[in-house]
């Protein structure tokens, strides 16, 4: 029994719209020939609808397919991989749409549409994109409704309404499933877009690098504090420590021959000595900060945290220089949770090899600076005293804090310290560390971010690229590594208020700010409020939706169910789905009041029902007289009473002049009750 369904005319427009909407995200970012292909297909379909041409035959379609494959190869250089694969899928989607004749074809197009929607989410996970995909799903559902409605007079708009209702009802169910269906670990590993440009901080520091970063208002990471947030002046987000200096550039280094396992502690692996000491120093009455960081992708491994982080969850390791390292390069937004305990930093020891490294200086660089440092060393009796002298030097001499420092020539250290004296944080950190090392105090440069801005709506912290900062750490016996920020000596505003305020207060800063257009929430005004809201939505989306992984889920379920066990989850899932479905069933199958019986009808049905219960079942379509007869047959003793009832009923019910009044109704009821007694 083969029926040939043609796709009904009221659905064709919806189908075209669905194809267009689903492909759009790929068309925007893909090669232009894809848009051309889709437009060509839509044009052909339109001409076919207008009966100006026939559907292209197998030959033309094959040629188009081969063309699409060739162009994909031409554009991407290959036919596999996410980008090329998606481009092929979208072309296939358009070509399948070209050959839709029967209902079957339309079904295939719709299924391809689901996949195209899914691939759009592969490349963008913004809330707007998800909303857009839900819209596409609604249109695809509309197509399903349309191709299943074979009446020619049906209205396309009604399909849309029906699909919208169905989708809206499906969304709460989707949320329930999203929250409760257990997350499984990946079956096999997949990575999308591994060869993206690296952004943010680099792994070395030379003059001008951080000031370049300062010109960007891009987001670096966001922090959600549980409980207190440290004051701005204490918010030093450590990223990297740089220990090797070649006269111009600071770089990461570890003492030669030290294996990674000795300075990097990965959760779950064997604990190195220094980590045991750190843990041993922890006590419950210490002040600590607990927070979650959501880092933007950098394609690098290092992460940012406050002093002495203890990772709670996330795929992260702790290095001996008290910073966090991701186990894989951060290629997507990445969340980790940390406890930071500033007090335990003294537990870290300094081996002799490390001391040697932290004192090393390049031959020949900064002769004058070395002289100055020697002088301080002779005049002071402790390392902290030497540091104080250095800071005083920056404060007292005419040093300036500026984003656009003059170029440094041959010897950057001496040139900066004694000639230009205009610099950004990296200049100060670099020269301060140099001076310390020259004076015999182990020191290193730390790069990271300082400060961050609070979103009042979400009470989370935003750290942007222009918060990038560099400072120093010196080794003090008994205190361990101690943070010293020479920039604070020159421009206290930078630390207390942030870069923007610091620049506003300096002479050349204001023009610069306008040039760069570094905008902030705190500017006030509608724009700021809107961008604050957008950021809040994005942040929550990030933490609650995209970050809803198995760890988060088990935490959530523990709050919800008390304890997490497969049985409990299954029960919660079944109960929630059943409740929702029951609610929908009530709403959908409830037939409202349109079937309400009139009083006389009720009177009739009551007797009918009673007689059916007591005796044999009666047919539904009896007249009152027939009902009376049926009763008399079964209960001869009730014949008279039944006859009385039926006659009175007819008299009342079919009286054309007036409706039965109260008294009459009561009489009818008493007749019925009398009759009841005789039915045994």
């Amino acid at each position: 029994m083969a029926r040939i369904y043609q796709v009904p005319s009221h659905t064709r427009l919806w189908l075209a719209l669905a194809v267009l909407l689903c492909s759009l995200p790929q068309l925007v970012k893909g090669p232009p020939w894809q848009a051309g292909l889709l437009l060509l297909v839509i044009l052909i379909r339109w001409l076919v609808e207008q009966q100006r041409m026939t559907l292209p035959g197998r030959m033309v379609r094959s040629l188009l397919l081969i063309g699409a494959v060739v162009l994909t190869f031409y554009s991407f250089g290959r036919l596999y991989g996410p980008e090329a694969g998606v481009a092929l899928l979208v072309s296939l989607f358009a070509l399948k749409y070209l050959e839709v004749v029967q209902q079957r074809d339309a079904y295939v197009v719709i299924v391809l549409g689901y996949f195209v929607c899914a691939t759009a989410l592969l490349f963008s996970q913004a809330p707007g994109m998800f909303l857009y995909v839900v819209l596409c799903m609604t249109v695809l559902t509309t197509c399903l409704v349309g191709i299943n409605h074979s009446d020619t007079r049906a209205s396309g708009l009604l399909h849309g309404r029906r699909a919208l209702v169905i989708t809206l009802q499906a969304i709460p169910l989707m949320v329930v499933l999203f929250l409760l269906v257990p997350r499984v670990a990946p079956l096999w590993n997949m990575q999308v877009g591994g060869d993206k440009a690296r952004t943010g901080m680099s792994d070395s520091m030379s003059p001008g690098q951080i000031s370049e970063l300062s010109e960007s208002a891009e987001l670096a990471f966001r922090v959600d504090f549980q409980g207190d947030m440290p004051p701005r002046a204490q918010r030093y987000w450590r990223g990297l420590t740089l220990s090797h200096y070649d006269g111009r550039t600071w770089q990461q280094a570890v003492p030669q021959g030290q294996p990674e396992s000795e300075y990097l502690y990965q959760r779950g692996s064997e604990k190195p000595d220094w980590y045991k000491r750190l843990e041993g120093r922890r006590s419950p009455d210490q002040q600590y900060y607990r927070y979650q960081v959501i880092a933007e992708p950098t394609q690098r491994r290092w992460l940012f945290s406050l002093d002495v982080p203890f990772p709670l969850y996330g795929d992260v390791s702790l290095a001996k220089d008290m910073r966090l390292v991701a186990n894989q390069p951060v290629s997507e937004r990445f969340a980790y949770r940390v406890d930071s305990v500033p007090a335990v930093s003294a537990a870290i020891n300094l081996t002799s090899q490390e001391r040697q490294l932290m004192l090393s200086l390049p031959e020949g660089a900064g002769r004058k600076a070395r002289g100055l440092a020697h002088q301080w060393r002779l005049e002071s009796d402790s390392a902290s005293d030497i540091a104080q002298r250095a800071l005083d030097y920056f404060r007292d001499q005419p040093f300036h804090y500026t984003l656009r420092p003059p170029r440094l020539t041959v010897d950057p250290v001496d040139d900066f310290l004694f000639r230009t004296r205009r610099g950004f944080c990296e200049h100060y950190a670099s020269s301060f560390t140099f001076l310390m090392r020259a004076a015999g105090v182990p020191a290193r440069v730390v790069v990271g971010y300082q400060g961050g801005e609070r979103n009042e709506l979400g009470s989370h912290l935003l750290v942007r690229q222009y918060d990038a900062h560099a400072w120093s750490e010196i080794w003090l016996g008994g205190h361990g590594w101690t943070r010293v920020d020479p920039t604070g000596a020159v421009a206290p505003d930078r630390i207390e208020l942030g870069l923007r305020e610091a620049l506003e207060n300096s002479e050349d800063g204001r023009d610069l700010l306008d040039d760069l257009g570094l905008r902030r929430f705190s500017d006030g005004g509608l724009f700021a409020k809107v961008s604050q809201l957008m950021d809040y939505v994005d942040f929550r989306w990030q933490t609650w939706v995209l970050g809803y992984d198995s760890a988060f889920q088990s935490e959530f379920l523990e709050d919800l169910l008390g304890a997490v066990s497969p049985v409990r989850i299954a029960i919660a899932l079944i109960v929630a789905v059943t409740l929702l479905m029951g609610l929908y069933a009530l709403f959908l199958l409830w037939h409202g009041g349109n079937e309400r019986l009139t009083l006389m009808e009720r009177e009739y049905w009551r007797l009918h029902q009673r007689a059916s219960e007591r005796g044999r079942p009666l047919e539904a379509g009896l007249t009152p007289m027939q009902l009376c007869q049926a009763i008399s047959e079964q209960w001869p003793q009730a014949a008279i009473a039944a006859d009385n009832w039926a006659k009175y009923y007819q008299k009342l019910h079919y009286d054309p002049v007036s409706l039965p009044n109260k008294q009459q109704k009561r009489h009818l009821r008493s007749l019925r009750n009398r009759l009841y007694k005789l039915l045994d």
């Binding site: 899914a118 998800f130 299943n148 079956l187 992984d549 199958l589």
Partner: protein
């Protein structure tokens, strides 16, 4: 797919018990079955693939999309069920036919509570017909019914099916209507007309129903004459009230009699009678029929012929 015979019999008995026949049926949850279609299973497979994709790419939004597909499926269960639920079905008219040919039954669908879209109706093994009913309205469909044997052919079990709105699920019900189609006997040629009467009986019927015969003349109106026989044209022309009179055809009235066909089987008797009914009808002869237990007075015309044929079909229970 055919089940083995014992299972099928068991299934048939179960269905017959579960869904007793009636003249009018309103579909409710006891009568409605629902199951995914092939496309529905395919759709679930797509949802499962997206779920695996979401897991593997660790992409929560693709997971959410797969959950959305699953949720749409679940909601579609209710919507598909709803499309058939509360649909009323009752007997309509019937159209008789000769045994071996086809008759037709009218099925009336009524929608008391809501609209019902794209409902397919069919007997087993036949092409279906599709219909949509708007709320508060009635629609009717004629379904052909093959008539194997003379007599009352009961309506077979009717399958009412719908995939609306998403085509992911199929919901159906079996309805056994207490409805039948009459199968007239297959005409059997015979040379002797099993009839008596004719010219010699002419007078006996002259005052009876002379409706379809040849016009004879006018006589003045007597109260009680049928108004349809009044010569209204003449009355309008001022010639007074007159009644038209008709004369019997030349052949006179004939009685087809069961008793005049002795010695052959019942069915054959009926077939011969059927043949002669058709013959006499073609000759425009008034004819009547006398069966054991039923006598139908002579007349002519389509309605008369049908009445007689129906009587033959119904024999012996009229």
């Amino acid at each position: 797919m055919q089940l083995p015979a014992p299972l099928r019999n068991f299934y048939e008995r179960w269905l017959a018990r579960r869904l007793p026949s009636a003249r009018q049926i309103v579909l409710d949850q006891r009568r409605i079955f629902i199951f995914p279609t092939g496309y529905g299973f395919f759709y679930l497979l797509v949802a499962a693939l997206l779920f695996i994709g979401g897991i593997n790419y660790e992409n929560n939004l693709i997971l959410a999309l797969s959950f959305l597909l699953a949720s749409l499926f679940m909601v579609a269960i209710l919507h598909t069920f709803r499309n058939l639920s509360a649909l009323g079905i009752r007997n309509g008219d019937s159209e008789s036919g000769f045994a071996g040919e086809e008759g037709a039954l009218e099925i009336v669908l009524f929608a008391q509570r809501r609209e019902h879209h794209c409902v397919w109706l069919r007997w087993r093994g036949q092409d279906g017909q599709q219909i949509s009913i708007r709320r508060g309205e009635e629609e009717s469909l004629w379904l052909n019914l093959p008539l194997a044997e003379r007599g009352r052919v009961m309506a077979p079990r009717l399958k009412v099916e719908s995939r609306f709105p998403l085509g992911l699920l199929r919901t159906w019900s079996y309805v056994t209507l207490d409805h039948y189609c009459l199968a007239w006997p297959r005409p059997k040629e015979s040379l002797d007309c099993p009839a008596d009467g004719g010219k010699e009986n002419q007078e006996a019927f002259s005052s009876g129903q002379s409706g379809n015969d040849e016009f004879q003349g006018l006589r003045s109106y007597i109260p009680g004459d049928s108004l349809r026989r009044v010569d209204w044209k003449g009355y309008a022309a001022g010639r007074g009230l007159n009644t038209k009179q008709f004369e019997e055809p030349v052949g006179g009235r004939l009685w087809l009699r069961w008793d005049r066909l002795p010695g052959i089987g019942e069915e054959q008797r009926l077939s011969v009678l059927c043949y002669w009914i058709l013959q006499l009808d073609q000759q425009r002869q008034p004819y009547g029929l006398a069966l054991p237990g039923l006598t139908l007075a002579p007349d002519t015309g389509d309605v008369h012929r049908w009445r007689l044929l129906d009587a033959l079909a119904g024999y012996p229970d009229f």
